[in-house]
Each structure stands twice: as C-alpha cells, then as structure tokens.
Amino acid sequence: MLRRVISTWLIILLLLAGCGGSDEDAEGEAVGGEGEPFRIAIVMPSSTTDIAWSQSMFDSLMAVQAEMGGESALKLAYSEGMFRVTDASAAIRDYASEGYDLVIAHGAQYGNSVFEIASDFTDTSFAWGTSSDTGAERGFENVFAYGAVANEGGYVNGVVAAMLSKNDVIGVIGPVAGDAKLYIDGFVRGVKDVKPEAQVNISYTGSFSDTTLAAEAAHVHIQAGADVLTGSAQQVVGAIGVANENNVAWLGTQSDQISLGPDVVVTNQIYNWANVVVDMIGKIEAGELGGTAYRLTFENDGLRLEFNENIEIDDEVKEAARAAIEDIKSGAVDPVLPEDE
C-alpha cells in the first residue's frame, strides 16, 4: 500500500515537472550591448519599504534608473524578503544565470553564497555589503564590496543631539547588541565631544523588527529624561511614532524617515548608494567586473545629512553639524570611540 502511495506521489511530481517544460538558461549573455539596457538585479533581506537598510539601496537604484532615462537604459529586478540565506542564494544564482550584468546581494549574510556563485559565473559582476571583502586576494575578479561608514553620520547626529538636548539625556534604541555598533559608537562620540557630561542611554530590543518593544523603549527613554532620540533598524518606526506623540526630537539614519515624523525628525543621515551604483556600472561597461570596495562617506557624497525643512532648526545647530561634517571630511575628527571606552 505504502509503495503505491509513494509511487503515486512520484508520478504527480514528474507530471508537474513535465508541465513545467524547460527554460533555456541565457547564460553568458554579452554585457550591455549597444542599445540594450544595463541589467541590475538586487536581492534584499527585508522589504523594499522597510525604511532602513533595504529601502536605502532600493531607493538609490530607482534614482539611478530615473537619472539614466528609465527602463530603456537600466532594467531593475528585485527580490525582497529574502531573509533566508538559502532563498537568497537561489535568487542570486538565478539572476546570474539569466545574464544580469550586475547582481547585488544586499546583506552581509549573503557573503558565502556570493563567492560560491561568483566562481561559477565569472562573466557576471556581483556586489555585496556590508563588507570590504572583494575576494581579490583569493583570485576573484568579479566581486564588488560596499559598506557605509555609518559612524560618520552617527557622529554628526550625536553633535546635533548634544546641542538639541536640554536635559543632557539622550536615548538610543538599537536592535541587537553588537549590531549597528558603528552608528551608535559614532553617535556617542559625537555627543561626548560637544557635551562630555551628557548621558547617552542605550537600550537594545533584541530584535530587528520588534516595533512594539522599540516603541516602548522610546517611552522609557523619554520618562528617564531623554529629550532627543535616535535608533536603527526597521523596528524604529514604532519609536518614531512615540517621539511624534511626545514631541521629542528624533534623529534618523539609513533611509529618509522625515515623512514619519514631520514635526520631530530633525536630521536624517541618508545612505546614498547612487554614486556607488553608477561607478560600478561604468566599471562593468569598461570591462572591470569587480575588485573595488566602496565606502559611503561624507567625502564621496555617499552619506548625506538632511535637515527637516518643515521645522525650525537653530542656525547654531546647523552650523555645528556642517562644521562636524567638514571636520570629518578633512580628517580633523576620526569619529570612533577612544579605545579605553
């Protein structure tokens, strides 16, 4: 009986396989021929509308597409919600075999998959981040790496926070201890450089997407005296809502969060990947498929600090922020925490 059950199932599977037919792999297609659009595929762990990491890249790609003249010049394909690495790996391989010119694996956890697939598709260009590893010393020639020097914007936000805070208490809402470390360390340094006596309270929710706990963390910070808040990961939407309700300043990072708190988001560090993408396209069209590790900084316009136009911000604060940015650009300030802290 059981054998029959199994054989029936096998037959079904085979029948379904038969219906599927075969799709020809368009492997090794020539890179961006004359008049053909350049083709980029991106694989993201979270949603295109996560208002954080994934959205920052998605928005940048859309901007580049608009800049280049739309679909006819740049064709974009995306896979969102690929939090399972196995799924992402399948998507990356699939895009590579479909002949995309550049496949962006937008998550550090995809690194293993990228190198495994990049060695099978040496004519396709790959990019991944956050990382500085292009595999060049292991012989890879078709992998780009990218990352944001988030502590720079963190530092400037910290300077702004210190100047805005009247209570000298500032709250930070992080996802998981150890994550977003760059941003938070830069932020603390920024605060301390302006007001060494100010208190920065950091709390972690233990999750990237627990908006409920992030919201409550914002309440807790406010009750503990904080009058300026910041935080990272997609969970912060909950906290921004609370900042809004209590009219407490919020400093954003990664994606544009001003729309969420039109009256409270004062500044916003934005990851602008457009230059990186444009540069990669140029290199690939010139036959250089990888090897560069990009870093978003204020210097190369990869990081941008936006002020909310809707609210009045003291010129003094704006001036201090601009000065901090200049200091970082010139190297006068290295926005990291001193070793002993």
């Binding site: 009986m1 059981l2 029959r4 059950v5 199994i6 029936t8 199932w9 096998l10 079904i12 599977l13 379904l16 396989a17 219906c19 599927g20 037919g21 075969s22 799709d23 792999d25 762990p45 949603s47 295109t48 394909a77 995306y78 896979s79 969102e80 919600g81 690929m82 939090f83 399972r84 690495v85 196995t86 799924d87 992402a88 790996s89 399948a90 998507a91 391989r93 699939d94 895009y95 075999s97 998550g107 550090a108 956890q109 690194g111 293993n112 099978d120 956050t130 990382s131 500085s132 590893d133 998981v176 201890a177 150890g178 994550d179 470390k181 233990g206 999750s207």
Partner: protein, 374 residues
C-alpha cells in the same frame, strides 16, 4: 472492491494536491489585484520549482529541512502534543553543531561528522525535552513553552553570533559580520549535483523518515507514543507511564528539528549565520500535514511544499510581485489543504475498521491528561 479501495486511497493521496490547486485558483484574485497576469505568474511558479535542474535541486534542497522538521512534527502529533518550537530547536541544533564542528575541527572527519550531527540532535533534544518535561511533570502547556523557547533561542543566537562564536577572522578584519567560523571542509556534506546546493543531507532525511516510520509502527516505544497520543486515560490504565512518553515525544520531535539545523549547517552554509532557518519550524508543520502526519507521507509532501516555496520565490522574480504574495498564497494553500481533510475523515468513518496504520488521525492535537473536572 479492491479497485474501489485503491481508488479511495488514491483520492486520499491526491486530495492535498487538488486542494493546493484550488487554493492557487483563489490566489488568482490576489494576482489580479496586483495587476499581474496569473497565467504568466503560475507558469513561472511551476517552472521555477520543477522546470529545470536548478529548480528541482532547489526544491529538494528546501525539502530536506522541511522533511526533518516534518518528521519531528509527526512524532509530536502522534504523541498527542503540539510542537510549535521547531524554529528554536533548529537554531540551537545549528548552533551546537557548529560549535562542536569548529571547536573539535582537528578530529578525523569520520569521527567528527557523526559527532557534529549528534551534537545538533542533542541540542534539539534538550530544547524539545524541556517543554516535554515541564508538561509531563508540572503540567505546563507545551504551546506556551515552545513559543517562548523559540524567542529565547533566537536571542541566544543573536548573542552567540556577535560574541563567543563570531568568526575570529572577521574579528581580526574588523568587519564583524554576525557569523561563525567555517566548519572544516572534510565534514561538509557532499553536493549531489555540481553548482547547486543539493547535498547528501537529503538522503539522510529520507533514511530517517524510514526510521521514524519503523519507530512509530514497529516498536513498543512507538506503539506507546501513539497510544498516549490517542488516549492518555486508557494508556494510563493500561500501565503506560504517560508522562514519560509525553516527554519522549517532544524530545524526539526536538531532536529531529535540531538535526535539521545541523544538516543545514553541514550541507548548505558550512557555518552558522543569521537567516539559516527563518520559518522552517512552521513550514515543517505544514509539510507534515501535507503528508497526513505520516513519516513516509512526509517525504513527497515536503518535496511538494518545498516546490511551492521555491516556485513562489521564482514567481516573485519573474513577474515582480511583492514577496508578501507568496506568503499569502502559502496561507491559502494550508487553509485549503487542512479543510480538504474533512472529506477523507467522513469516508474513513464510514468504513470503520479498515483503517491501516496510516489512517488519518482525529482532530485531537492536544494531550488531554489534565482535562479532568477539578
């Protein structure tokens, strides 16, 4: 008469497939809502999962953890307990296997590989055994404990991957990607098809399905697990130590989930990283259901459900719909497949006594040992 019986069985087996197709028909509404051509979307789904070597191997790679988790769910269900904790058990299994494989990396592969698998299984056994013990000894409901222990496991992983288990190479390079060091290459499970992720863990999973079948229907332990699941009161009067078997079924269930984690590490990623599981604990429950909560049924069922998951991802890529669509479709498929069971149960009730060992179980998913009026 023989033919009628055969036909009836055939219908039983085909029913989940039919229910799935009906669910996909309903899903057309969602596709139309998005302004997508349903025909194009669904042909991408089928082609993506089964259309070529790449699709088929992806399906089978995905089916491997689903089958292992599904087997665990079968044991739990047969033992009358619900294991919602697959997710956490997978995670601790993967963590333990990685810790062992990396920590004792200089052992010969012939010893290291089995021990790595065993440590994953042992961690899962522990993570499932705790809820089992708490239920059996203290009457703490297993749904509560397994739900909570999932969260604990995830937080444990977040901590370990950013602290004690963080790859020393990354620490040195200052990149701090939350992942462990790689396992020694000698114990990586063989890739069965080059340039794919399909690995020999699939064979292990199928062998274990046979073993679970043997355990449940050919041994005294299995008989007792099922007896306790069907009727704890009668079992107690028959002299079966009910608490022991409640613990055992949850522990074994956890063990298989832990093994699923270890196999994912050894076969696919070769290290522990974030995003290793991401929902296999739930998907495995669904796969077990498709297989009528029978270990052998779970083999084709996990392949079928794996195909659905892989195909849905392909559909996202091909017609560029939000990933949420795939999740909603899965939900519909589950709802239709569970509903289709009614037909089978109605008919089996009419021919009482003919039920073989693989007959559908009653809708009693919960242990009733604490149900006395008090």
């Amino acid at each position: 008469m023989k033919i009628r019986q055969y036909l009836a069985k055939l219908i039983d087996v085909l029913l989940p497939v039919a229910a799935m197709l009906v669910a996909l028909l309903v899903g057309i509404l969602l596709l139309l809502l998005l302004g997508t051509d349903p025909f194009e979307a669904y042909s991408a789904l089928i082609q993506g999962a089964l259309g070529n070597v790449s699709g088929i191997t992806q399906t089978l790679t995905k089916a491997t953890p689903l089958l292992l988790v599904g087997l665990g769910i079968c044991i739990a269900f047969r033992g009358g307990v619900i294991n919602i904790g697959g997710e956490g058990q997978i995670v601790v299994g993967a963590l333990a296997a990685t810790a062992f494989g990396v920590g004792f990396g200089n052992l010969p592969a012939l010893i290291l590989l089995p021990l790595t698998l065993v440590s994953g299984a042992a961690a899962g056994l522990l993570w499932g055994g705790i809820p089992g013990l708490l239920k059996a000894r203290l009457g703490v409901n297993e749904i509560l404990t397994t739900v909570m222990m999932n969260q604990i496991a995830l937080r444990l992983m977040n901590f370990l991957l950013r602290g004690p288990m963080l790859d020393p190479e990354h620490v040195a390079a200052g990149t701090s990607i939350p992942q462990s060091a790689a396992l020694p290459e000698s114990i990586w499970l063989t890739r069965l098809v080059p340039r794919t992720l399909f690995h020999s863990g699939a064979i292990l999973a199928v062998l274990l399905a046979l073993a679970v079948y043997f355990l449940l229907w050919r041994t005294t332990i299995g008989y007792r697990i099922r007896a306790v699941g069907l009727n704890p009161h009668a079992s107690r009067y028959a002299g079966i130590p009910v608490p022991k078997y409640v613990t055992l079924s949850l522990a074994l269930s956890g063990m298989l989930c832990g093994l699923a984690g270890a196999v994912e590490v050894l076969g696919v990623h070769h290290r522990m990283l974030e995003g290793l599981s991401g929902g296999y604990g739930f998907s495995g429950i669904v796969a077990a259901l498709f297989g009528k909560l029978h270990p052998l049924g779970a083999i084709p069922a996990s392949a079928l459900f794996g195909a659905l998951l892989v195909g849905a991802d392909k559909m996202q890529r091909a017609v560029q719909v939000p990933s949420a669509l795939a999740i909603a479709l899965q939900g519909l498929v589950v709802l239709f497949v569970v509903s289709s069971d009614l037909y089978v149960r109605r008919r089996t009730r009419r021919r009482v006594g003919e039920d073989g060992p693989d007959g559908p179980i009653e809708g009693n998913g919960d242990n009733r040992e604490k149900s006395e009026e008090g």
